[in-house]
Symmetry: C2
């Protein structure tokens, strides 16, 4: 049986990316590598929709999140953190580990923050240095209104820091146009790579923060990253094979065009939700993201049983709930290298598995609903 | 023309490692990945010659160096750093970035520290928390006497921290037997992987230091790494494709046996040195390492010209000097997936290139000297 993964990272690797990784390694302190790295940096700017530098770290996404804290802040700095899921909690945890005074804006899991709430908090609290949020809170499968939040934050001296690790490439994120100060991303999501690389872009306003930050940093030092970038290099040994593979992934995105990539994610997500509803399931999280669809487990269906059957009988790997949603939802990602028939497949496997586990449904109804969304679409 | 790299990291990838990376990605929060990761952790213990945990980070070697500082120390802690090259300087730079009081033991580049010097310093200075050194100082191509240093440090409350990034697998390093407190390693050296993973092992004495450290940490947190390791996991998304490839590389090392791997490095290094001397060149650095051979550039031969010719005419990539040795030496690595004929090839390319650049030598003399070392050897 073939294995098919529908997890919100890692996501399936296109053949171009896989084969690129099988090539013999090259040395990084060479003109050849610098040329590749420069192409990668340009491609990242296109995906980030920014004219500014994008820094690349040999680290997974949490590393790039930490780099933002270490480079832009000092112990005691007061920051707002939107905390509506596991990754909101992560901002809060990293901030506190580094001595920041974290003021949480707690959001019910599955709901999103209203930009007005942030505006109020920014008025209420003095000296807020930054607002931290997600583009997509992967644990609850919702998408935040980053454009709206940005309009509120940009009127203040605070910077807006967006964890777009799972959301970049699946939702519109106009970094420069929306004036987002910091965007953090990771390789194993819409960028269609294995995990092991993460990225940060900074506005001029954010860059100013590097000048006053006193937190210790070395591996994550943005000043060193910037100085090296100008020479087509990274300060420390880069993850060469992943960077070479990233060039291939970026080519695929450029060929498809970023707007089309995002539209494809939107359509696949819509098909997944319509299918779930058609077989009587409830979609969890509002507004739902293009990254992953969370489905509330119907009565009598156990998370582990369902995921085991999907895996054992159909080769399908989906995600369970995280933290307080563990055992309450399952999550089906439609992220990265995914197409229409991938979605038909996962819906079909879900129908068959649920029926076998005693859930009452009419086979084919979910697939039909998905087909009605996907037919005639040039994805 | 084929490209052949003789750089002290990255090193050439065996076919098993390359093909493993071309496989479709698997999700990391699965029993399948945990099983792979557990095998990897066991294999690492074998290479490190330790019974204790080895932590794996998605980061290059400098990241694991930083993790050691962040987890074991506090601002103001006094430490000794053996500074005999670029990587000794790196310990000193990271330490100072994190507010440690770094007392350097400066060693002439190309020479090594005498354990007695460390013993004296440890007596002279009060409250030294740690001694930092390299196994191999890659920039000067020398190997330090870690066993001797350990005998001195273990008598004090200080811990010994060894950057074995380039040396592990190329020189004996009996972590437990020699009672080395911290060993740091990287993937792109004798482990025959691309860069992007780094490793740390800790003695019980070192682990005690985690209990008093007040430096901020999150991504590098050893306590989180330990708690996850027990479940066959990492705290944050691991570099899945590199970890799967590492299992293959570790299998190759286990099949060959670590003692044989080290002996192979020793023999290839000896052949390289004998060849260099046979064509009238001077080997730089004493005692020379099994990792890389540094050769002083003879009068009239320019570093860049020589390396360009090697690359353009023979497809051979070697390294130049770093820092104050830039333009004065070239470095030929015999590290990782290397065999007898690789060495014959690089020596031959060196002979032909030097002659073409006007250096007076008899073709074949270097190769002959290398053959005399390598003949009849079951490498």
């Amino acid at each position: 049986m073939k294995e098919r993964i529908f997890t919100p990272g890692p996501t399936p690797l296109p053949e171009e990316v896989r084969l690129e990784q099988a090539r013999q390694i090259i040395h990084h302190r060479t003109a050849e590598f610098s040329e590749i790295f420069k192409q990668v940096c340009e491609g990242l700017k296109y995906v980030f929709q920014t004219k500014r530098d994008v820094f690349t770290f040999a680290a997974s996404g949490t590393g790039a999140m930490e780099s933002t804290i270490a480079n832009l802040f000092s112990s005691g700095d007061k920051v707002l953190v939107v905390r509506g899921g596991k990754f909101g909690e992560r901002w809060s945890d990293i901030g506190r580990s580094f001595g920041l005074e974290v003021i949480p804006i707690d959001v019910e899991w599955g709901k999103v923050v209203d930009p007005e709430q942030i505006e109020e908090k920014l008025k209420e609290e003095k000296n807020i240095k930054a607002v931290f949020t997600q583009l997509v809170e992967t644990s609850t499968a919702v998408v935040y209104d980053i454009e709206g939040i940005s309009k509120v934050v940009r009127k203040t001296p605070a910077i807006l820091v967006v964890d777009a690790i799972s959301g970049l490439g699946a939702h519109p994120l106009l970094t420069d146009e929306w004036r987002i100060d910091v965007v953090v991303a990771g390789s194993q999501k819409a960028l269609m790579l294995p995990p092991g690389l993460s990225f940060v872009s900074l506005s001029e306003k954010a860059w100013e923060f590097t000048k006053t930050s006193t937190l210790p940093k070395y591996y994550w030092d943005f000043n060193k990253a910037k100085a090296s970038l100008e020479k087509g290099q990274t300060p420390y040994t880069p993850a060469v094979s992943l960077i070479c593979a990233l060039r291939e992934a970026l080519r695929l995105i450029e060929d498809e065009k970023i707007e089309t990539v995002i539209e494809r994610h939107r359509k696949l997500a819509e098909a997944t939700r319509k299918a779930a509803v058609a077989i009587g399931l409830e979609v969890f999280g509002d507004p739902p993201s293009n990254v992953v669809t969370a489905i509330s487990l119907p009565e009598g269906i156990q998370d582990k049983e369902l995921r085991k059957k999907l895996k054992d009988d159909y080769g399908v790997v989906i995600a369970g709930g995280q933290g307080k949603l563990s055992g309450k939802i399952v999550r089906i990602a439609h992220l990265g290298w995914m197409d229409k028939l991938d979605i038909i497949g996962v819906i079909s496997a879900l129908e068959m598995s649920l029926l076998e586990l005693g859930y009452d449904l009419e086979l084919g109804r979910g697939v039909k609903a998905a087909e009605q969304v996907l037919i005639n679409d040039k994805l």
